[in-house]
Amino acid sequence: MNRLDLKTVLGWVPKDSRVLDLGCGDGAFLARLRDERNVIGVGVDIDPVNLIAAVSKGLDVIQEDINDGLYCFTTNRFDVVVLAHALQELTHPHIALERMVDIGDEAIVSFPNFGHWLCRAHLGFKGRMPMSRAMPRHWYNTPNIHFCTVKDFESLCSDLKIDIIERATIAGAAQGLLGRWFPNLFATSAIYRIRRAGG
C-alpha cells in the first residue's frame, strides 16, 4: 500500500476493530489489517476489477460510488472509516467527511497537500497548474477535482465540528522535521485521525 503511510495507519487501527475502507482498491490494505490486526474489514470501491481483486482476498466489498453519500452504512457501524488519498477525487468532500465520522467512531483521512512549496512554486513561478510524479495528469483530465492544503483541511474540520485527534505528515527525506513543523509548506501529504466533536 503506497497511497498511505501504512505504518502510521496500522498504528491507528485498534486490534479486532471493524474497519470500513472507502476506495479500497484491490483490498491489499484491508487484507493486511485483517491478517496483522485481526480487523473485520469491509471495502467500498466502484471499479469492478478492484472489486474482484478484493473479493479474491476473501474480503467483503460493496460496489458503490462514495459520491452517492454512503447512505447504505448506518451510524456507528464501524470503529474506523478510512479514506486514503481519495478525498480530492470526491464531488463533495465535506459531505463525505461528515458521513465518515457518523458511520465510524473515528475516521482516517489522507490527501496530497496542495500547499507544498513545490506546488506553490509551480503555480507561483510557472503560472501553471502543478504537475508532478504524484500528480501526473493535466488539470483537465485529472480525477483530482478538489485539491486542498493542510490548512484548508483543518479549517474545514473546524467548520464541520470534527475533532482532529492526531496528524501525521509525509515529507521528502531531508524535510522530515520541516514537514512536521511547517506541514502546510513542507508536507507532501498529510494523514489525519478525526472524529465527531464531542464524540
Binding site: P48, V49, L51, I52, V55, S56, G58, L59, D60, V61, I62, Q63, E64, C72, F73, T74, R77
Partner: protein, 381 residues
C-alpha cells in the same frame, strides 16, 4: 453434439427422483399425501458432508442446471455457464444439487402429474405453492440426501429469492447465500406483468379451466403470449437494439413484396413463445407467477427487511445487473442495505451489462470472475 463433452462440463447427467410418503402441508393449508422431487447432482459429497451447494432455479427453470442428458442434447443445462469443473461453482470441490420445485412441470409433483385421488392429472387442482413451501420441500430432499447443512444456497431471480428465504427459514442450514438479480418482494409493476401473462393463458379457449390435459387440449397460444411478455421483461432496450435493431427477418415494405414483413425481433419473440408453449405446462406457469407475486420477505414484520434478515447466519453475495428492469439494481440494493443494517457479512456488485434480467444466465467476464472468486470461501478450503 460431439461424442465427448467439453473439459469444463459436468458431462452426462441423469436426473434422479426422491419420493416422500409423508403428507406435505403447504403454507396455504393444502396437503399432498405423498409427493416426489426430481433433482440432479454434480460433483461428489465429501466425507465430512460440508461441501454441498443448493442451486434454486428461476420461474421457468428446472433441475437440469448443468451438463447434458444425452450425447446429442444440443444445449446443456440452464446454468452450465457457472457449474462445472473449474467453473465458478466448481464441481471438483463442491457437491451441487438442483431440484425441480414442487408444482413445476419437469418431473416433480405438479399440475401435469397424476392426482392419486382421482387418477387424472392434477391440472388446476394442484395446490398453490409459495417460496417457503419450496424451501421446506428442499430441506426434505437435503435430509433424504443425508445432508445437515448447505455450504451455500444459490439462485437468480425467483431462485435468488428462494435462496434468501432459506437463510431466514433455516438459518443454521445455510453457510453462504448468493442472491442474483433478486428482489425482497414483487412490486405492483412486477405483479402486473405476471397478471398479463396469466390472463393470456386463462383467456385461451383451450385452457379448459386448467383441465386441458384431461380434455386433450393445450392452451399453447396463451402460454406463447405469456412467454413473449415475460421474455420481453428479461431483456433490456439497449440489448434488444443491439441484437435486433430494425432488421427484417423476411419480406419488405415495398408493394412488390406485398408490404409483408417480419422484423427480427418479432420472429425471435414468436419463436421463443412457440417453443415454450409446447415445453412448459400452463398450470405451472400460473402457479409459478402467483408464487412470485406472493413473495414478500418483509411481510408485516416490524423493523422491516433488516429485522427479517437478522435471523440469517449466512455470508451473502448480492449482485444486480445494470440494465435489469424486471428486478432492477435498486431492489438488490434494498437487500444489501438490510443485510448491512442487520450486521451480516455481504459483498455487493452491480454488473455492467446490456443483458437485462437475463444477465445472471449469460456470459460476462466480470460477473463470472466475481462469482468464481467469491465462491472460493464456500466449502472446505
Amino acid at each position: 453434439m460431439a461424442e465427448t463433452f467439453p473439459a469444463d462440463s459436468v458431462g452426462l447427467v441423469t436426473p434422479q427422483v426422491a419420493h416422500f410418503d409423508d403428507p406435505f402441508t403447504f403454507a396455504n393449508g393444502a396437503v399432498l399425501q405423498s409427493h416426489q422431487l426430481v433433482y440432479e447432482t454434480y460433483g461428489e459429497l465429501n466425507s465430512a458432508g460440508d461441501n454441498a451447494v443448493l442451486i434454486c432455479h428461476a420461474l421457468s427453470g428446472s433441475h437440469h442446471a448443468a451438463g447434458f442428458h444425452s450425447a446429442d442434447e444440443r444445449r446443456p443445462g440452464w446454468w452450465d455457464l457457472a457449474i462445472g469443473p473449474g467453473k465458478p461453482i466448481d464441481t471438483n470441490r463442491l457437491f451441487v444439487v438442483c431440484s425441480n420445485n414442487l408444482g413445476c412441470c419437469d418431473g416433480s409433483s405438479g399440475p401435469n402429474t397424476t392426482n392419486p385421488g382421482t387418477g387424472e392429472p392434477w391440472g388446476g387442482q394442484f395446490p398453490q405453492p409459495q417460496v417457503q413451501d419450496w424451501v421446506r420441500s428442499q430441506k426434505l430432499l437435503a435430509e433424504h440426501l443425508g445432508l445437515s447443512k448447505w455450504a451455500a444456497v444459490i439462485g437468480g431471480s425467483l431462485g435468488g429469492m428462494q435462496a434468501l428465504q432459506w437463510t431466514i427459514d433455516f438459518p443454521d442450514w445455510v453457510g453462504h447465500c448468493v442472491a442474483l438479480a433478486a428482489a425482497p418482494g414483487l412490486t405492483a409493476q412486477n405483479i402486473a406483468f405476471n397478471e398479463i401473462a396469466r390472463h393470456a393463458i386463462l383467456s385461451d379457449p383451450d385452457w379448459c379451466e386448467g383441465a386441458y390435459l384431461s380434455e386433450g387440449t393445450l392452451p399453447a397460444r396463451g402460454v406463447a403470449l405469456a412467454r413473449m411478455v415475460g421474455h420481453l421483461t428479461y431483456m433490456s432496450a439497449d440489448g434488444m437494439s443491439d441484437r435486433f435493431g430494425r432488421e427484417l427477418r423476411e419480406g419488405g415494405f415495398s408493394p412488390e413484396e406485398n408490404a409483408e414483413w417480419v422484423f427480427q425481433v418479432e420472429s425471435y419473440l414468436r419463436h421463443q413463445g412457440s417453443r415454450f408453449s409446447t415445453q412448459f405446462d400452463a398450470n405451472t406457469y400460473v402457479l409459478m407467477t402467483r408464487a412470485l407475486d406472493l413473495f414478500d420477505l418483509t411481510g408485516s414484520q416490524d423493523g422491516g427487511l433488516a429485522a427479517v434478515l437478522s435471523r440469517a447466519q449466512a455470508e451473502f453475495l448480492v449482485a444486480s445487473f445494470s440494465s435489469d428492469w424486471r428486478f432492477p439494481p435498486q431492489r438488490s440494493i434494498e437487500i444489501r442495505d438490510a443485510l448491512m443494517a442487520a450486521g451480516k457479512p455481504v459483498t455487493y456488485a452491480n454488473i455492467e451489462t446490456d443483458n437485462g434480467h437475463d444477465g445472471f444466465l449469460l456470459p460476462n467476464p466480470h460477473y463470472e470472475q466475481l462469482l468464481k472468486e467469491w465462491m472460493r470461501r464456500v466449502g472446505p478450503l
